[in-house]
């Protein structure tokens, strides 16, 4: 302890992370557009980006806030439809409408998060899970029916909302991933983020430390919903067609599985799991008829042998790794992480 440890200044850490991220985006884009890889890899890479955003956003309410919402796909749907309706019904050129659409999708989903969060968060544990499941299903049923029953021409019901400009690219999807991870990270490493964590750890103690738990629960929940909305907006721009059945209960479960498999409360874990689980069905094509069976067995096996998820609560930090390198303690950090979430300490 006598030797002064090297610590990386914060500005340097941000700079390094930003540089690595820029390198990833530019490099990734260069590789994908060079034609060296089959073009479906680009599709999968975009999809992974969208799934990563969905997973890290759910991780806010699951991993950080410690609740178990089962209606996350509902927020994705809200964001997707909000942005798609905005993009198709206004005459704004797609280049401008798309970023605006993402913001609108996130904002509307966030608003839904508040509206649903206020009643739902009065419940705890499994009851919260069930009530959010209910809200998620109601969102889907409403999207499916407001055309046929109420006569609006909004969502186009089961026929699907078509003709959405396909504006999602590898670069904008992953820029959004970067932005999402950065904002979630900076939120979590602040007094607000710590308040959210304290609720997960012990609600009563949090309250008696002066933390307004209703406010922070709703805040975290709607933040989670907002980022899910952004993921939905990207999804709309990725597929060009929206159908409420794409956002059912099973989609919520799919996202939850990513978060739990990666390790609840670990952003790096969510990212890794989103990548693995999105790529897995493609990779398992070799197994053809057996691929869903293999997938389910992998899921069960992981849970049995590593119940806390692949990475537990470990979070990747470039800063920490550099500091450990300099201080010669790297042996302690052999756990792998992705070069994404810009963590500082």
């Amino acid at each position: 302890m006598s030797k002064k440890r090297f610590t990386l200044p914060n500005w340097a850490a941000y700079l390094i992370n930003a540089a690595l991220f820029a390198a990833f985006i530019i490099g990734g884009n260069a590789v994908l557009s060079s034609g060296a890889l089959p073009s479906f890899i680009t599709k999968v890479a975009m999809l992974i980006g969208i799934q990563v955003i969905a997973a890290v956003s759910l991780n806010i309410s699951t991993g950080y806030l410690g609740q178990l919402p089962l209606g996350h796909a509902g927020f994705m749907a809200v964001g997707a439809y909000a942005s798609a309706i905005f993009m198709t019904r206004t005459g704004i050129p797609a280049q401008l409408a798309f970023p605006l659409g993402i913001v609108i999708g996130a904002a509307v989903a966030g608003l839904f998060g508040v509206l649903i969060g206020i009643p739902a968060l009065r419940l705890k544990g499994d009851y919260l899970a069930i009530i959010t499941l209910g809200f998620g299903e109601i969102i889907r049923v409403v999207l499916l029916n407001i055309d046929s029953v109420l006569g609006f021409k909004l969502t186009n019901g089961a026929a699907g909302l078509q003709g959405i400009p396909k504006t999602t690219t590898f670069v904008n999807a992953w820029l959004m991933v970067g932005l999402t991870c950065f904002l979630i990270h900076t939120f979590m490493k602040s007094r607000h983020g710590r308040a959210v964590l304290s609720i997960r750890e012990n609600e009563i103690a949090a309250e008696s430390c002066g933390i307004n738990i209703t406010y922070y629960k709703t805040l975290a929940f709607s933040l989670s919903a907002a980022f899910a909305g952004a993921a939905g907006a990207l999804y709309a721009g990725y597929l060009g067609i929206l159908n409420p059945s794409n956002f059912g209960f099973m989609k919520s479960i799919e996202i939850l599985v990513m978060v739990v498999l990666g390790g609840m409360g670990s952003m790096a874990g969510s990212i890794v799991a989103a990548i693995v689980l999105t790529a897995a069905p493609e990779a398992l094509r070799a197994f053809d008829d057996y691929r869903m069976i293999v997938y389910s067995l992998l899921l069960i096996a992981t849970m049995i042998f590593k119940p806390s998820g692949l990475l537990g609560r470990y979070d990747f930090s470039m800063k920490r790794i550099i500091e450990k390198c300099v201080n010669g303690e790297l042996f302690a950090s052999f756990r792998r992480g992705r070069g994404k979430g810009a963590e500082e300490a």
């Binding site: 178990l68 069930i130 109601i138 599985v257 869903m292 067995l297 899921l299 049995i304």
Partner: protein, 295 residues
């Protein structure tokens, strides 16, 4: 046809589907009561039961009673096997890991069923004479009558089992406080397995009743049925046997009424809306015990 008879008919329709929901809901409720697990694979156990019933009747031309017994035994064995293989190793793990495992088991069963039985729906031969019984102006379908009666008997039997037998007492003790029950010499593992066995046996009965009302089996039939039954269990107060029954009937009747009002597309929405309202007013369901945390 008068409005009155129409309403009575709709109520009968609701009671029939409600009794099936109730039987399935009981399985959810019992398992939840004892290990606090939302057993998502429960719906798929019913699917397997339906396939067993189909195999017995369509392939081996067995008598419906034998098919029922086979389905019950099959489901019971499957339920216990799932518990031993997938859930038992996770007894000490966070509950969410258990939940994800249950989802994995559900995927697994669905996909294995598709591989084994094919994607095609299998039709179960009608085995109950479906001439409706005329009661004044109201025609009651025989299947509805049988479903309600069998479900009623099963629930009474379950109640006796839980209230009067040694194993039932052990079940209640474990769900109250597993640690204390263990200190009193109750074998936790056996009790949990037994709970799964009973829950799955009820699912087996439910699957046969389901088949006699809606005679087809598909690999994915369990997921929506399971979800609805689960909602029923929560609505009634999860962990409570009369609650699960009440919840099942409530959902069955609500669905029937919404459908008959010409709003069937909103049916799922209405079911979940009822659930939300009930939970907000009474957070532990209609008949659930209140939860308090000691400070």
């Amino acid at each position: 046809m008068s409005v009155f008879t129409t309403i009575i008919k709709q109520l009968i329709n609701g009671l029939q589907s409600g009794s099936i929901y109730a039987l399935v809901a009981l399985g959810y409720s019992m398992v939840y009561g004892i290990i606090m697990l939302l057993n998502f694979a429960h719906g798929d156990v019913i699917m397997v039961g339906a396939y067993i019933a189909w195999m017995m009747m369509a392939r081996f031309a067995a008598n419906p009673i034998i098919a029922l017994i086979a389905a019950v035994i099959g489901c019971t064995v499957l339920g216990v096997l799932i518990e031993k293989a997938a859930y038992k190793p996770l007894r000490q793990s966070p509950r969410i890991s258990l939940l994800i495992t249950a989802i994995g088991v559900s995927y697994f069963l669905e996909n294995v069923a598709q591989l084994v039985f094919g994607a095609n729906a299998h039709v179960i031969p009608t085995f109950i004479d479906d001439t409706p019984i005329q009661l004044g102006q109201i025609a009651i379908p025989t299947t509805a009558l049988i479903t309600v009666i069998v479900a009623g008997i099963s629930m009474v039997a379950l109640n006796v089992l839980v209230k009067k037998t040694r194993m039932g007492k052990a079940m209640r003790a474990v769900s109250e406080d597993a640690g204390a029950a263990q200190l009193m010499g109750i074998n936790i593992n056996n009790t949990i397995s037994f709970t799964f066995a009973v829950g799955s046996a009820l699912a087996g009965i439910g699957s046969v009743l389901y088949c006699c009302a809606y005679p087809k089996a598909t690999p994915t039939m369990g997921s929506m049925l399971g979800l609805k039954a689960f909602v029923a269990a929560v609505l009634g107060g999860i962990g409570s046997i009369p609650g699960a029954m009440a919840g099942g009937f409530a959902i069955g009747i609500a669905e029937a009424l919404v459908s008959s009002a010409g709003l069937s597309e909103w049916k799922d929405g209405v079911v979940f809306a009822i659930l939300i309202v009930v939970l907000l007013v009474k957070p532990t369901g209609l008949m659930g015990r209140p939860m308090t945390e000691k400070v």
